[in-house]
Structure formats: C-alpha cells, structure tokens
Amino acid sequence: MRHIISIIVENKFGVLSRVAGLFSGRGYNIETVAVGPTLDPEVSQMTIVTNGDDQVLEQITKQLNKLIDVIKVVDLTEKEFVERETALIKVAPPPEGRAEVLRTAEIFRARIVDSSPKTSTLQVTGDEKKIAAIIELLKPYGIKDLVRTGKVAIARE
C-alpha cells in the first residue's frame, strides 16, 4: 500500500543523503520526495511517498526515527490529510489544437506561464488524479517536456 510520510529533520549537512541512503540501503522504494524549509530555519520538512505492507512501513518509520537528525516522522496515510503536487507541462500543439489546449487548461484551472510561437507551458496544481488526468488529455497534442514537484502533504485539523 502507498504511504505519504512527513519527516521533520535537522537542517544539517548530509541529512538528505542519510534519509535517501536509508531507503536504498534497506531496499525500500521512494516514489517521490519533496524537501523544503519550515518556519524554523534550523529545521526542514520532507515529504516522501513510498509503498510497502504494514511491516515494511513500521520498519521504515522506526528506521527513520533512529536517524540522529530526524526529529519527527508522521505517516499521514493514517490520518486525514491534504496532498498537492504541481506540474509544469510544455506542449507543442499543431495550430488547430491550440484552442483545445487552452480549453483543457481552463477546465483544470491550469495557468499558462510561458508561451512561444510553437509551445505553451502550463502550470497545474492538484492531487494525483488531477495531474494524471490533464497529462492524459494533453498527450495527443504533443507534450514536449514535463516536470513535477513531487507530492507535498499536510494533515487536516
């Protein structure tokens, strides 16, 4: 089963490699990872999407907690949470497809953040299904490039 784990870490030299190395060294899978600062400059936040059965997840959580620079580990999947991801999608539609691309952007509340004579770049934010859906719809118009942030998630109050 898929899990979203939120990790609070000391913002210290090498902490990302410690976390990433733990996953690779023990054969756990990382689907996406997003890292960023928090309000406290000494502390960073990582969101990792991984999968495994209950026993694997228990080990991942325990092993993460064992790392000296890890302050807190929360498996958000056990709670109510909101997840979002942003994707930048560069499309190069044929002239007759341009209107359709714009319409699709509108439906998904995507913004055009860059355009050139031959391409348009869309920025879309949403949960996994939404991102997957817009990618599917834009594919026929020729996706030239695609970058995704990886998921970030936060618990609901």
Binding site: V9, G21, I68
Partner: protein, 576 residues
C-alpha cells in the same frame, strides 16, 4: 584564550576521560599528532594498518565498555578504517573514529588523499560529522562520544579538515550533549513488562534467548536473577556469551547454526521465547518460520527497529535490558509462584536433549584436534582470560568448547564476521588490561589478514597470545565445500602458509609449535609463562568440521551431527 583545533581536540579527549588512542598519522593530521607528542595522560598506540587500529579500539571497547578511539589521516587512512567501523556497527560497539580531511576549501576537488569518508561510512556508522568550523569542533566531539556510548551503542565518525585543526577558537566544552532528535529510552513500559511477567507465569516450556544487549547494558546479574527466580533455561547468542555463566546448570549453550542440540530443541519446542538484547539474526533462527513455531515471543531491546524486524512479537518492550529486567524481576518475585515445581518437567526434557547430543568431538592420539586446544586453554586458565577469536571454525569451536563465565571476556566479530579481527582486538583488550591473560584463538588464514600488528604488540610490549589452529585451509569454506559442493576445494586450500614460528621471531615475538596432541599442554603452559607476545602454531587436523550444524535454509531442529556417526569406529570424547 583561543587555542588551535588540534589543542581543542586534545582537551576534549581529556574531558572524555580517554586513556588511549589507536591511530596512524598522515599529511592532514600532522598538527594533531604534533600536539599528542607531548601528551602524558593519553597514550597513542601506533598500529601498522588503520584497519588494525580500528579493531584495536573495538577490542578495547568490548573489553572495557568504554568507547574506543581511533585517529587516522584522510583518504586511504580513512578508507582503511571502513571494515573496522562496519565490524563495530554490526555488533553495536561504541567507537569514535576521527579522520583527517583535506582543507575545507579543497573538499570536493579530488584533492590529494581526499575521500568522502562521511559518505562512504554513512551506512555503517550510527552517526557522523564533518566539522567545517573550528568553533563547532568541541561540540561535535562531545556529541560523538555521547551518541556512540548511549542507547544502542555504535561507531561515530568525526571528519576534521586540516585547516580546522590549525584554526583557533575559544575552548568551550558542553557539560552535556543535548539533541532534540535523539533521546534513547531506557525504562521499559510498565504495562508491557507486566504482560511479560504474566506470560512467564503462564508458560510451561519457556526459554530465555539472550544476546549481546545483555553485555552492552551490563545486565549479566539481572539476567541471572531472572533465570534463577523463574528456573527458566538460558541460551545465548554468539554475541551474548559471557552474559550468563557458561557453567550454570540452567545454561543450554549457544543456539543457532552451530549451537547445541538442547538449545535449538528447547527453543523449537518452547511455548514462550523471552528474547533479551538479541535480534533474531539469520544465523540464530535458521529457517525463521520453524525457529519457535509454538511459542509466544517477548522481546526486550533498546532499539525499536530490532523488534518485529524478522519475527512477529507478542510482547514488545523497548528499553534498556538492565532497566527492564530489574522491573521484570521485581514483578516476578512478587508473584511467588512455586517456580521449581512448575519447571520440573520442562527441565527434565531439556536434560534429555542434552544427554542425547552433548557437545563432542572425535579424539585422536596422532593428530591435534582443534577442539582439544580450546579445551586445554580453558583448563589451564580456569576460564580466567580474555579470549578473542578470528572468524570461521576457530570462532565456532571457541563458542562451543570454552565456558565463558564473565561478561566482556569473549570478543569476536559476530555480525560482520570479519577475518583478521581477533588479533588486533586482543591487542586493544591487552592495552586496557595489561595484567590479564589475553588470547586470540585464531585460524591461520584469518590471522594473516592483520598479521602486521605483531609489530604493534612487540613494540608496545603487550604479552598477547595467539593460539593458531593451523589447518592450512579456509576451514569453514572448506567445510561447506565438503558438505555442499562435493568436496571441490576451490580456492580454500592455504597450503604454503609461512612458518609461523620463524615469522614470530622475525617480528621479535616468540614462536612455539605443537604438532602432536601430547605437545599441546606443555606448549600452552610455556606460552602463558612468557611475558611477551607469543604465536603458538598448533598444527591441527586439516579436515575437522564444526558440528552440530544447521544447513542453510533448514530449521534449527534439523541439525546434522557429522562426527557422531563415526564415533563407533573411534572413541568419542564427550565434553561436560
């Protein structure tokens, strides 16, 4: 007043009560070795290889319980410590390894003798530091010693660039290390301990399975109390030997791949396994589903990741073994069960298993049996010695035939299985206890992996003894090839080994040799009388195997007993 990083380093070591540093100098650590040149309180032991220095510090730590300290240079100096660090990591041994690093500005430039040692050792250290500013040096050292020696102990690496040793700062040593993200939990959950006590009271066929955690937490006395109060038999892992008296009537011997029949059968048939400071290693469990199929499991460990890693646990208790056992023993005493009467039938069954297959080997008048050498060492020392071993057959025979009655008297590489560990570890232990008899029970091949440390032993005037069980084979490899590869001894025949007696003499040590069983005792006696390093070359039966044995992938109840089949032909020597 501002002092240099090198002086800060020295002062920090003094504050930590460090008595001895095992090391090897080089370009980027010249300044710190220069400072150590005048030092009177802290002794520097110069090894002949950085791996040797790291195992020495490990042996020192295992024998004393205090962190072992290593100081080496950057690049190859640092990478040579990796096997030593990994050895300590697998067995949870507290080490603080200081590595020099190229100057801060050069890091990442592929400078001369540069290695990313923090990156290289990340998976085999408990934690590590790269100190980029001299102002952070004292704090990093304080934390390194704290992390290495608390919780589940382990090696910590501190990488210090050359300029940090030269730069100056005020010396401020923290009173205590405080880390918001690291707070080892010592006391166990009371409710869980109560569950454990109730399970123990209900159990009909319980067995205690204890490991290295007992020694690390200094809980041998508490373990003995637990066993004696409840009359539960005790089996120990390789790492646990010495944590419960080897001569105790409730002792079953070691369990696992080369464990005793009664230990493996007791666990296999038991209805309650009380795992204490042990981690259900594959060499212990055999086929894990058949380890203790009918048992509930209580598991006490300070490291939560050890619990439910390999087996399902019914009563998990996260905490320090000593703390938890104290609480558990108090509760059990209050129960006032008629323990001896409850346990009678079970202990009788265990005794039957013991009678069925006691530890034994086939005696010979012509050729020295390796087990006989170990028995003789035990007899002559009365067990009062610190024993280290190399890895393989010599290690297993020692575990089977030497009775360890006291904690921290058996030092060996259990987790990583590092050949070449035993001899430098013996040097480290001898540094800590100059007046005790320290003996490395070695295989000829393992010994050669760190033979260069003979020079260290001679120069430091350490009376370390090495009993070589010399079979001119990689014995354990050969055994597996005999049993599972049709006797095709591919790359395991070590014929052409040096003359160890002359080798010892070349280094300025003493060399002795025993070639017949009758020579073993006099040669050992002579060796123990000599107050210098001695290599004792015991030329043993080349084809002796370690039995009993659980073949890989089998359950522990499916042991094979090679030698006993032959016992009708020649006398079988049972060992009490």
């Amino acid at each position: 007043m501002k002092i240099s990083g090198a002086e800060i380093f020295l002062e920090a070591l003094r504050r930590e009560g460090v008595k001895v540093v095992f090391g090897y100098p080089g370009g980027v650590v010249l300044k710190v070795f220069d400072v150590l040149y005048d030092e009177k309180e802290i002794k520097v032991v110069l090894s002949r290889h950085e791996q040797g220095a790291t195992h020495m510090a490990d042996g020192y730590a295992r024998a004393t319980g205090r962190p072992g300290v290593v100081l080496v240079t950057s690049g190859p100096g640092a990478t040579n410590t990796v096997t030593g660090i990994a050895t300590a990591y697998m067995d949870s041994i507290p080490l603080v390894v200081f590595t020099g690093q190229v100057p801060t500005k050069m890091i990442g430039n592929d400078a001369f003798q540069e290695a990313d040692i923090v990156g290289i050792t990340r998976p085999c250290t408990k934690h590590s530091y790269l100190v980029k500013d001299v102002a952070d040096l004292a704090g990093a050292i304080k934390e390194a010693f704290y992390i290495a020696s608390t919780g589940r102990p382990g090696p910590v690496l501190v990488d210090i660039p050359k300029d940090v040793f030269l730069d100056k700062a005020e010396f401020r040593y923290p009173e205590e290390a405080k880390l918001r993200s690291y707070n080892p939990k010592y006391a166990g959950n009371k409710w869980q301990i109560k569950q454990a006590a109730q399970a123990i009271a209900k159990a009909k066929k319980p067995v205690i399975y204890a490991g290295g955690g007992v020694l690390l937490s200094g809980a041998a006395e508490e373990l003995r109390d637990l066993a004696e109060i409840t009359q539960i038999p005790v089996t120990l892992t390789l790492m646990g030997l010495g944590g419960f008296p080897g001569t105790h009537p409730l002792f079953l011997g070691m369990l696992g791949m080369h464990g005793t029949y009664q230990a493996n059968m007791a666990v296999y048939r038991s209805d309650l396994v009380i795992a204490i400071g042990a981690r259900f290693d594959d060499r212990v469990t055999g086929k894990v589903e058949e380890f203790c199929p009918e048992a509930k499991i209580i598991h006490v460990d300070i490291d939560p990741t050890s619990i439910k890693k390999n087996v399902h646990v019914d009563v998990p208790i996260v905490g320090d073994v000593k703390h938890v056992l104290r609480d558990l023993n108090t509760m059990l005493r209050e129960l006032k069960e008629p323990w001896e009467a409850i346990r009678k039938a079970w202990l009788r069954q265990v005794a039957e298993w013991q009678a069925e297959h006691p530890p034994a080997y086939e005696w010979s008048d012509e050729v020295i049996k390796p087990q006989y050498v170990i028995e003789k060492i035990y007899d002559l020392t009365g067990g009062d010695a610190i024993i280290t071993t190399e890895v393989g057959q010599c290690q297993m025979w020692t575990a089977q035939f030497f009775k360890f009655n006291r904690p921290r008297t058996f030092l060996n590489s259990g987790g990583l299985g590092t050949m070449g560990y035993g001899f430098p570890a013996a040097i480290g232990a001898q540094m800590a206890f100059p007046d005790r008899l320290v003996i490395d029970i070695a295989g000829d091949a393992s010994l050669e992996m760190n033979i260069q440390e003979l020079a260290t032993a001679v120069i430091q005037r350490l009376p370390v003894k090495v009993a070589i069980l010399n079979n001119r084979f990689l014995g354990m490899v050969r055994q597996w090839q005999e049993l599972f590869f049709g006797g095709r001894y591919s790359s395991s025949d070590m014929t052409g080994q040096p003359d160890f007696v002359r080798l010892a003499e070349a280094y300025g040590a003493v060399g002795l040799r025993a070639e017949k069983p009758s020579e073993v005792e006099p040669v050992l006696k002579e060796a123990f009388r000599i107050s210098r390093p001695v290599l004792i070359d015991c030329v043993v039966d080349r084809y002796e195997n370690v039995f009993p044995m659980v073949p890989a992938g089998k359950g522990n109840h499916e042991m094979i007993f090679g030698q006993e089949k032959k016992s009708s032909e020649r006398g079988l020597r049972a060992v009490g």
